[in-house]
Subunit: 197 residues, 2 copies
């Protein structure tokens, strides 16, 4: 069971960044104003600039710290060379689902608002995401070679899995009758059953 680190010793900058994630998710980065963010924190807008550099720096921090969490978890899974491919994919699916439920605002912003990243960062972010997808594809391809998985197109399988998991954002605001554990096992099951021989 992978741990998801919770923020402790939150600095003022951390507090601002966390509230910004909430604001950027609900309003959208482009529409969200620093005046709104300031109001959420009980200060005037110019005061924010004692702790942060700019509005877009907030977006960068949210997007990259989230991306890094996913990359770190993938490192761990890849180092577990004993596990069969299906088991490793399952770990990743479960981690995605749990991140979606526990760090909803940050994951949502990283998924939806990255396009507003300024120029060098935008490219870095997309490269990092592409690399992540490539590594997932590699795990599935290995599983197919070893006859552990059905001989499907690995790239499309990755696309299918990542997108399905991302769709949990709709669950968050909708049907709350389904408990998180049921959701995690059902969705993992559905996606794996389509993968395994």
């Amino acid at each position: 069971m992978a741990r998801i680190t919770a923020g402790k010793h939150a600095s003022k900058k951390d507090v601002i960044t966390h509230k910004a994630a909430l604001l950027f998710r609900t309003r959208g980065f482009a529409v969200a104003s620093m005046r709104e963010l300031a109001e959420m924190l009980g200060v005037e807008a110019p005061s924010l600039y004692n702790h942060i550099g700019s509005k877009s720096e907030l977006l960068q921090n949210i997007c990259f710290s989230t991306a890094n969490e996913f990359t770190l978890q993938l490192d761990e899974v890849e180092n577990d060379t004993e596990a069969p491919a299906a088991k490793r994919i399952e770990q990743i699916i479960r981690f995605h689902i749990r991140m979606m439920l526990e760090k909803f605002d940050e994951v949502y912003v990283a998924n939806h608002e990255w396009k507003y990243l300024p120029d060098p960062y935008l490219g870095n972010f997309l490269n990092q995401r592409r690399a992540y997808e490539k590594r997932l594809t590699g795990i599935i391809e290995e599983g197919i070679r070893k006859k552990e998985l059905r001989p499907l197109n690995a790239y499309i399988a990755v696309l299918t899995i990542l997108s399905a998991v991302r769709g949990l954002e709709f669950w968050h605001r909708g049907n709350r009758e389904v408990p998180a554990a049921v959701l995690e096992s059902n969705m993992t099951d559905h996606l794996l059953k389509g993968l395994i021989k």
Copy 2:
């Protein structure tokens, strides 16, 4: 094979709306300016207002005409009462995939920018989408009752399917080596295999 209607006899308003879909997708609704849209069409910004009412009216037209296409297709599928549940779900999956590939800008905007709809329309849009998901859930529940499908949580299955299909937006800008037909059959297969007994 469901048909997807192509725009003929395009009025000036249709041309503006179609270009707006492209602009809103690439730049985001909030950041896209009417001056940019005008430039794409070779006119000055105020001239647009001879054909359209407002920027947000453009968004409304894109979101609702897209939503209506999906609803109409669902009507058709539901009327085909002979077909088993898996067959009906397959038809819907394939329609989603094809819409994603053929009307990419419009579907993308309806999926991502609906939150900028002004107040009465925002609620209508969300209601329409919720009703659509409910009807899909109903088809799957029926399939489970008739023992045609595995006894999974129908709501989560709908979430999984709709989200996976939506993820094709990443394919559009990425890996073009996979032909559309392969993509459609692979993804449909993956999702159905997880559903069928």
